[in-house]
Symmetry: C2
């Protein structure tokens, strides 16, 4: 059991009608705010007007950058950095899902350095020591970016999609209002659920023994998503369902569940290569990959983890033989993703063939074999992609 440091100083306003705290929180950092968002959703649901009204009441000076795309690109980051520098922005306000928040984090960091923001990524990445303060208003429960210090950015020129963590990019404050996710489509709700579950499973499936208490918390969150994602899809304005998904999205990845576990994640690097080349929704890619990865890794040495997962998340009868429980747990996860949530189940269905598997597998292992639950070489990754066809 390894030692660890717990340090998550994000303040979260959770629930409806908390937005009147926005002005007071932003004003702690100055007057000049850069508002970042994606498409028209925040205008359609009336959130844009509410935010602008709060900023006006707090006498903030507003700059805007809209059009941040899903799988956000380095070009958007560069635009944001330019505005921050030219306008002397004091604080960034990201309104949206993980893509907007991720991009905003690197704008905040890029505003504090002279070099290009893409130099924060890759093998010889530049350090991220400072960032302008970031406040977020979340509109999609999925990535957990609202309460963690990481982000993932795509570079279409190099077909790279790379992640980076840095404590300086941790949001100061995040507003989590479940009602802001009422308009999220069934498809995006399903992809978000898969993303949340993957964040938990990347840690849960780990051969490092760690705190039982954290295993129980992970199983509890997985059960919560399994229970409430279908409710949110069937009844988009069910507050209880949206609230549970939202708080799980933050706690799946804010670092608490890690304890002292230090193993690499497996499905995320494999998925990033898929969405770097094909621009598929991140959560969908994870849903397709995860059960196949579980199947590929299963053996006598690690079967106990699958048993705990199956018994405690899917209530599989614990008196069955262990291997049967393990296989059943994979089947139940597939049923959940592909039947209950209605996600497509193969790469072929989303228009992806094997033509780039070799290069994607190589890139997924760009820093060496993936030393996660089970060590994966490029050849292993390629075989897992094949299983997803």
């Amino acid at each position: 059991m390894n030692s660890f440091v717990y340090d998550i100083p994000v303040r979260v306003y959770f629930g409806e009608n908390q937005l009147h705290h926005l002005g007071e929180e932003l004003r702690k950092y100055g007057r000049r705010v850069l508002l970042t968002y994606g498409g028209g959703t925040i205008k359609r649901i009336g959130l844009y007007d509410r935010v602008v009204e709060e900023l006006r009441k707090a006498d903030m000076e507003l700059f805007e950058l809209s059009g941040i795309e899903p799988n956000p690109r380095i070009e958007s980051v560069r635009e944001g950095v330019k505005i921050c520098k030219e306008q002397g922005v004091d604080v960034l306000l990201a309104v949206g899902g993980g893509s907007t928040i991720d991009a905003t984090k690197f704008m905040a960091a890029g505003a504090c350095v002279e070099h290009d923001a893409w130099e924060f990524f890759g093998a010889d990445a530049k350090p991220i020591e400072r960032a302008l303060p970031i406040v977020t208003i979340l509109t999609l429960s999925a990535t957990g970016s609202e309460m963690d210090s990481g982000g993932v950015i795509s570079n279409p020129d190099t077909q790279d999609k790379l992640g980076r963590l840095a404590p300086a990019m941790l949001p100061k404050v995040s507003f989590l209002d479940p009602t802001l996710t009422y308009s999220v489509s069934a498809y995006q709700t399903a992809c978000g659920a898969a993303d949340i579950m993957s964040h938990i499973m990347e840690v849960y499936f780990n051969m490092n023994k760690d705190l039982f208490m954290l295993d129980k918390f992970m199983e509890g969150m997985l059960k919560t998503v399994v229970r409430f994602a279908p409710v949110a899809i069937a009844e988009p304005e069910n507050y209880e369902a949206r609230a549970n998904l939202m708080w799980c999205s933050s706690w799946a990845i804010n670092g608490f569940i890690n304890g002292g576990r230090k193993k690499a994640w497996s499905c995320h690097p494999m998925e990033h290569e898929l969405s770097a080349v094909y621009d598929i929704t991140h959560g969908l890619g994870l849903a397709i990959l995860t059960p196949r990865w579980m199947e590929y890794c299963l053996d006598e040495s690690n079967v106990e983890r699958y048993v705990s997962f199956g018994v405690n998340v899917f209530d599989i009868d614990k008196s069955l033989p262990k291997m049967d429980i393990a296989r059943e747990s994979i089947k139940r996860l597939e049923e959940f993703f592909f039947r209950t949530l209605g996600l497509k189940s193969t790469l072929r269905e989303v228009g992806i063939g094997r033509e780039h598997f070799e290069s994607m597998a190589r890139k997924a292992c760009r820093y060496g074999d993936i030393r996660g639950f089970k060590t994966l070489t490029p050849a292993d990754v390629e075989r897992i992609y094949e299983m997803c066809l």
Copy 2:
């Protein structure tokens, strides 16, 4: 479901061999440190010498206040305040369990005001707006004071034992090294386990509907304590057991599990009156009270909570009639406290008779009826005390 603010900016160094970070953390706040502790335990286990050595390496100037008692008294707080003021202390370092940490919090707050520290308590309590920074090193898993902003202080002159919360008193940093609890006796380990469970159950038994995800976390922590407290008693140097109890102690009361639940706690105010008059161990008082309180409150309107508790914490067969599950859950809790943990089961066994029940019940309701899981009047409290005889 109510809204809430989540804000726990305590940095925690968890695990063995983290104490080399002590100097760097303290130095953020200045050079003059007041070290507070209780009896001789920290010297006996070698912790005192390790701390002093770290302070020396960081070139800190050391002041000391030892002898802080269990159920800490206002007089200790006053002594600490005096040292802080006279010596211009920059930061307080509490080394011990909840009593030492609680007392230290009010020293830190008292050092910032002119009035007597007892004026922080009671109906006309003075505000706590500032406090000197506090760092803690935990040696007992129980109260959770290492990660919350509250504390409880006794005043023998008035036979009062009163609690107070204030964000300013939240520790900046806490060191949680499970090996520092290896020498905790079986009795204190048992009392600590009861205290942790009570903190969770005070929130879990609540008629406000809140996040399912948090219910699952609470059940997971309760299961963790039920599993590992007996292990820690049987094998005092079992790291896994001590680590699980320690991290549960913090998360049982740091505010996370509350979500939007705002109901009053029930067993704690009843217990505080017991230990104000009789000076019994807080956790033992809670262990005696909790099953009787559950029995007193149980009815058709709230039976579902007992069912969830019994099924998810004690694995009681969920196909049984609800009332049977509820009663069985109380029985299982009693067995756990009084047989597995070996705690005394009645007030009479610890030398407490009914002579002060009426006045203690009145004091437990000093701010009005206890509006918790079930509203309790002074007459109800008295009847619950009677059930504990």
